[in-house]
Amino acid sequence: MKFLINRKLVLTQNKKRMSKRLWIFLTCLFVSASMAFAQKTVTGVVIDKSTGEPVIGATVRVDGTSLGAPTDVNGRFTIANVPETAKMLKVTYVGMNDVEVAVKQNVRIVMEPTTQNIDEIMVVAYGTQKKSSFTGSAAELKAEDIERHISTSVTGSLTATTAGVQTTSSNGDPASESHAILVRGIGSMYASNTPLIVLDGMPYDGSISSINPQDVETMTVLKDAAASAIYGARGANGVILINTKRGRMQDAEIKFDARWGSNSRAVPQYDVIDDPAQYYETAYKQLFNDYAYNGYTTAEAYARANARLLDQNNGGLGYLVYTLPEGENLIGTNFKLNPNATLGYSDGEYYYTPDDWYKETIHNSFRQEYNLSISSANDRLNYYASVGYLDHNGIVDQSAYKRYTGRANVDYQVEPWIKFGVQLNYTHADFEQPDYTTSSWASSGNLFYHVNNVAPIYPLYVRNADGSIAHDSNGLVKYDSNQTNQKRPNTVGNPVRDNQYDRSQNYRDMITGNWSLILTPIKDLTLTARIGINSDNRRRNQLYSTFGNASSVDGAADATNVRQFSVNNQYLANYASDFGTDGTHNFDFLLGYEQYKYKYQYTYAYNTHLYDPYIGEVDNAHGPGDDKSVSSYTNNYMIEGIFGRAQYDYKEKYFVSGSIRSDASSHFHKDHRWGTFYSFGVAWNLAKESFMEDYKWIDFLKLKASYGEQGNDDLASADYPYFPYAFMYDISYDAENNAYSKTLAQIGNDELTWEKNRNFNIGIDFGLWKGRLSGSLEFFTRSTSDMLYFLNQPVSSGFGSKQKPINVGSVRNLGIELQLNGTPIKKKDFIWDVNFNLTHYKNTIRSLHPSVAENGIKGSYYIRRVGGSLYEAYVYKYAGVYTKDNYPEGSTYDPANDGRALYYTQVTEKVKDAEGNVVKDAEGNDVTKEVTKKTLNFSDATQYDDGDILPKLQGGIGMDFKVYDFDFSFQCGWQLGGRFYDATYQSLMHTSDQSVGNAWHKDALKAWSPENTGSDIPRLESDYSVSQGAVDRFYASSDYFSLSNITLGYTLPKAFSTRFGISNLRVYVAGENMFVLSARKGLDPRFSFGLGGYTAGTGYASGNYSAMRTVTAGISIAF
């Protein structure tokens, strides 16, 4: 095969023009067929107007033929066998405006760089559109923005690049790396806030990480109603359109990209006490204080503290890892380690010395990725095919993700009026995951929680008396799981051991297919039929090792199979035409029907007693009948909708568009199943007005406004999310009594219907100084009404934890977005691009169910009330430590309370006059007032509404430099003005016996003491009542600054590379998720939006797979 030198991969697609070309092509087909006799050779040169330099690699095509050639290093081209009838040459090059010139010899063609934003074509709902005529609000990312990210999932590149799009990364697991994406704030309380993903025109329900980012051509986020209302159902949270690549050039382009790198933990450990002596001293001091401040003598306090320090059944640590002289105590009465103590202790049978669990467990690992693609296009056939391999390893053992992808996109013009397209993708993934879920927070089975929280006194391994690590008879390392003569107070088994010996093997096969037939039976009318399927089969085999936590049942295995299948049918009729002279009136009508069906099938089997301890299959498990567990069920979901859209513009100056869609969802009872959604948008392109002609520096200026309504039917958090309208029951069977038993599982509500999102958007888009500065400024409101909501029922009404799904209340997000792209410097060998975005929004609850409207809904850490935010903190307020200058009003100062925590409390008091008599009102009742006081007693403290914790501002800034053949870019993200409940810090500042054996933050050393009376941290003391309370002092600023991506590349000069038949060769190093600067070392405010308590919300952070940093080096070659 002969590889022709060709231009760089083209990054945009011009579908609208395609139809025009098609007609030209059809006319020319006959012309060329009949007159293919006389031929000639055409030569010429292509020059860049801005620099006067030759353009290398531009494509020159003879219009109406399949002939063409790229320009060489001198910008020259030669095309042989050009028919005499050929009239025009067409030259294209990325970043330059297309040029058409008449065919002549030695032609000199001058190309002008594209001015950004002018007539750029963008992907919109059910098609493409000129950016200038788009009345909605959308943000677009192109392949080059996406490829630069070293990310498993394509949505990773949205981080910090797009105004109005907020991403949180709750998980660094290579096997489930995902980003929670919020478009324009939180619109739902209980319904999903996840945007709809539309892949190649079809709603996509598969795993986002199953799409190879390298296959993506564009990713467009539709933010307002005008843009997304046509998706009606499920468009309420914004829509992300992902289109995969197509062939663009005549001759095959082959691209190969390889990357090798390293994954590491991105966010460091909190600043914990890592010196065992210091840890013992702190624990001892806390125990001592429990007695010394509670009426016991100092001598008794020393004695009790010594008695308890190592007693794991009495709130003590359980472990001694120091050798002490006979009869001496570990900690002296000066609260310091006995100077005669030496680290390491042997009881004759075992040797005990602490291990650094963090260092033993968390490590860097290897990442490699290879992608190969081939693409080409001619006037009838367009194809893109790719294969990819990703080997992505985690920061702990048994954590890995291997992904194999293969894609083929083919479009074929069967007849001038028939086009057929197929997009097929196959993804296979093999992965291993360690045992953690945020819901297993605080479980000693959670690897991450434990490694982050274990005190620095506990051994990871069992050691023989001589200090060597013990092995069992199979040679396996013995991990400490309470089998020695010392016992830990809070850890069952050993999660590091289980991670070594248990196995979680996952297999996933996913086929995504998309077949389309496009007919153009008459001019301007396009009929499209499209069927998309997504088949996702997952299998998980979990082995619980007999050498680990399943020793009691001699090993156990489970196998889970999940089959998901969805099919989407879409039928569209589009009529686009113009009338009047020169397209004065342009219009475009779309009518469509869409139907989506989804099936989820689950099968699970479990049994114990593995004959072969290493085979994690149920047929290897021979446990008794009572141990067996099996489960299977199927869930179905369906929506269907009909929709229409009309667009009109007058001379491309005034634009009007409107859409309407009616949708039915099987989530709702059939009487409340249909919802109708609509949108309306207008735009005014000022730059085209005659009065603007004098302002030559304005390329583009558009005012736009839109309003519309969308629906949301996704009650994401329900136990039975598929049928919220139905009362659901659980059935069990008692074989001994031959009796079925039925209990309520879900409260249904057949009145339940669509949640509605009303979006209003007004904005300005602009391009100035020939593309040197462009951007948009938008103002939006996003109001949710009929909010899908789970209403708590009075516990006394007997519904237990079950909640009733209802439509209730409304929430509004009011916001402003600014997006700027500028090119401060643009010279031949030095280009500097800057992008900047900024978003501010305010979330307000506008109404609530009558039963809770007055008092709001109070939780252990949140309050939802009318006028407040969905992210409103509800906390106990810390009033500092008790001192002689700060103690409860009206009490007598007692030095014994020095250093104790004070909290605020609201007290109703009778008003007294100067004589001390209670004041009465006109009716003779006592006049009262509410006063804020301080209290030592946490159970008297008041929980206060502490306001919205969402950031005031968030955004990103990025820069791109091209200096000669080097390119350098970085992208940063930041947010300001919000708060994050740092529950991990709270747990590291623990005061409860139930946290004994947990790591302590070094701030615990700074607690108030008679020697450190200036401290604002309460004295060390057991305080169970407060230990799990949400206290305002644990709110930290959620401000952060992160470097999300940095890339340095070098492209071999074309003049050089073309000699080797290579059109493009680039080597690069790139770093993803490099660092985050936050208010406290260890705190990653990107984990969630910041609201939480000790055991919920942000409280789960320490049980989570920490974010990963990836640094890679790569090479990219195109032929």
Binding site: S551, Y633, M728, G748
Partner: protein, 554 residues
């Protein structure tokens, strides 16, 4: 071209129409069953209708009933409530370590309105109450119909029996709530607000204030009286309610309302057909089988429901499970040494706990991986069993005895004939028939527990009865309600140097300390605006009130 066109358009529409499946056909398939499917199943197989009735009993000890998806190890209905109530009291405790899910009871921080333990304990009786009320609604539309003899007479025997059982369950639920949210008759609190009443007449659950203690007990006695009048001794299984159960429940209610003679009479009647477990019977770990002759009412735990789950009695209060919190991490339930020391050495019940040398004769009948006798106490199996410590209980056995279980399918006693005897004794003693009471008590203990028993002269007879209840019913959920009913202080220790309680749980509280009252969960006060919560008191600190005494463990 035209032919192509037609074919293409036709095929397009053909595909379009064939794909127009009826969205109304989408139904659950196995992941729960919808109300419509229940109706269908009942019409196809009418016997399925009984599942509601069975469900009312199944939920009582169902692991993770309150929050199925959370699978909390302390979520198992009335059995968890019994353990919590005892762990708050003076006699039963768990070690103070990170493994102890009942530490909120040990610390008495269970008064925090946002904690799960008190929420589950509040929610469980009301959930069953709703099922009972729903069951009643199948037959009657308002409470007044219960008094309409003609109407009741028109119902078939199954209907009447179902109504009677449902009313008895309703009463049981209030008996499981009332002692914890307000002080007792003995404390002079009968006119104080207790818990909200939910009957068929309850109009607005969102504005349902607390009824007084007296109102609650009047409802209990009314419901039970109806049940007793319409039940007999027959029933399908001992998991359901019969006349004995209803009588026993009313005896408890009379005891709480200080109607001593009525309590004695009901308790005596409830014993009919049941005999106490013999010395031999309880010389081995027992109290796990509903078919035992001394069980009047119990929870019938099936293997499929319990299988290996941590939300079960053997996981917590048992000491013989290979799949358990208690054994796996050594968080065994143990008895307060102060009470243990008061049990005579000749009493078989002394063996229900290992002594300070880890000895108990009950262990001789246990075979754990070939280990028997006191060696069982010392046995350590990595990840499976930690050694017992002093005063660890071995009272509760498992169905796989003499071997340990990994199924945790022990049944649970809700009412034993021994309790009825002790109620009878107390009722008689306090209604002026102390001599008879002494005789019955002496007969019972000498026959079934301690052949050389003599009623102690060191304590009052009332305290002697309480002592017998505390020993006999240890772990079965009576400790706190007895203490409140008798208006006694909470006495867990005398001196930190002598107690076997963890220091953090070693404190005493005087009678009627406001901290003794449970708080209504935040979830209730958020949704039922009729509730005015209990207030007052302070979370107890280590070693407070060491001077208090309760008359039993002095």
């Amino acid at each position: 071209m035209k032919t192509y066109f037609k074919i293409a358009i036709l095929s397009l529409f053909a595909i379009g129409f064939t794909q127009c499946d009826d969205i109304d056909d989408i139904q659950p398939e196995g992941d729960g069953i919808s109300a419509a499917q229940v109706t269908e199943a009942v019409s196809l197989v009418p016997s399925r209708a009984k599942a509601d009735f069975v469900g009312m009993f199944t939920m009582m000890g169902q692991p993770y009933f309150y929050a199925p998806s959370s699978t909390r190890a302390d979520d198992f209905g009335f059995i968890m409530m019994a353990i919590s109530q005892d762990a708050e009291g003076p006699d039963l405790q768990f070690p103070n370590s990170g493994y102890n899910w009942f530490s909120v009871c040990g610390e008495l921080t269970s008064r925090t309105p946002t904690y799960a333990n008190p929420l589950i304990r509040y929610s469980t009786p009301y959930s069953q109450l709703k099922m009972a009320n729903d069951m009643l609604r199948n037959y009657i539309s308002d409470e007044a119909q219960l008094d309409d003899a003609e109407f009741i007479g028109s119902l078939d025997s199954v209907a009447v029996n179902t109504i009677a059982q449902s009313l008895a369950i309703r009463a049981f639920d209030y008996l499981s709530l009332a002692p914890y949210f307000q002080f007792s008759y003995a404390a002079g609190a009968k006119d104080e607000p207790c818990v909200p009443l939910v009957t068929l007449s309850t109009a607005d659950a969102a504005n349902n204030p607390r009824a007084t203690v007296e109102t609650v007990y009047n409802q209990i006695i009314k419901d039970l009286t109806w049940a007793i009048d319409h039940l007999d001794a027959k029933r399908e299984t001992k998991a359901y309610v019969n006349k004995n159960v209803a009588l026993g429940l009313r005896a408890r209610a009379y005891l709480a309302t200080e109607k001593w003679a009525e309590a004695a009479a009901d308790a005596e009647a409830a014993q009919e057909g049941y005999t106490p477990a013999s010395i031999a019977d309880v010389s081995t770990p027992s109290f796990y089988d509903i078919s035992d002759k001394n069980w009047i009412w119990g929870y019938d735990m099936t293997t499929s429901m319990a299988g290996g789950k941590y939300g079960t009695s053997p996981s917590w209060i048992g000491s013989f499970s290979k799949e358990a919190y208690a054994c796996g991490v050594g968080v065994y339930a143990f008895i307060n040494k102060m009470l243990y020391d008061k049990i005579p050495a000749t009493d078989v019940r002394k063996g229900w706990w290992v002594d300070e040398n880890l000895h108990s004769p009950l262990l001789e009948t246990v075979d754990w991986d070939g280990v028997t006798g006191d060696d069982v106490a010392k046995l350590q199996v990595a990840d499976v069993k930690e050694p017992y410590f002093a005063y660890t209980n071995v009272k509760f056995g498992v169905p796989s005895m003499p071997k340990p279980t990994d199924q945790n399918d022990s049944d649970w006693p809700f009412m034993r004939v021994e309790e009825m005897i002790l109620i009878q004794v107390e009722g008689l003693a306090k209604s002026g028939q102390e001599a008879k009471a002494r005789q019955i008590l002496t007969d019972f203990v000498t026959t079934y527990r301690d052949p050389s028993y003599k009623i102690s002269a060191a304590r009052s007879f009332a305290d002697e009865i309480w002592f017998q209840r505390r020993v006999e019913l240890w772990g079965e959920g009576f400790a706190w309600s007895d203490m409140q009913r008798l208006n006694k202080p909470l006495v867990r220790f005398h001196s930190l140097d002598e107690t076997n309680y963890p220091d953090a749980f070693a404190f005493n509280l005087p009678a009627k300390d406001p901290w003794m009252l449970m708080r209504f969960p935040q979830r209730e006060t958020n949704t039922n605006f009729g509730i005015v919560n209990n207030t007052g008191g302070v979370a107890p600190k280590i070693g407070i009130n060491p001077e208090l005494r309760d008359g039993v463990t002095d």
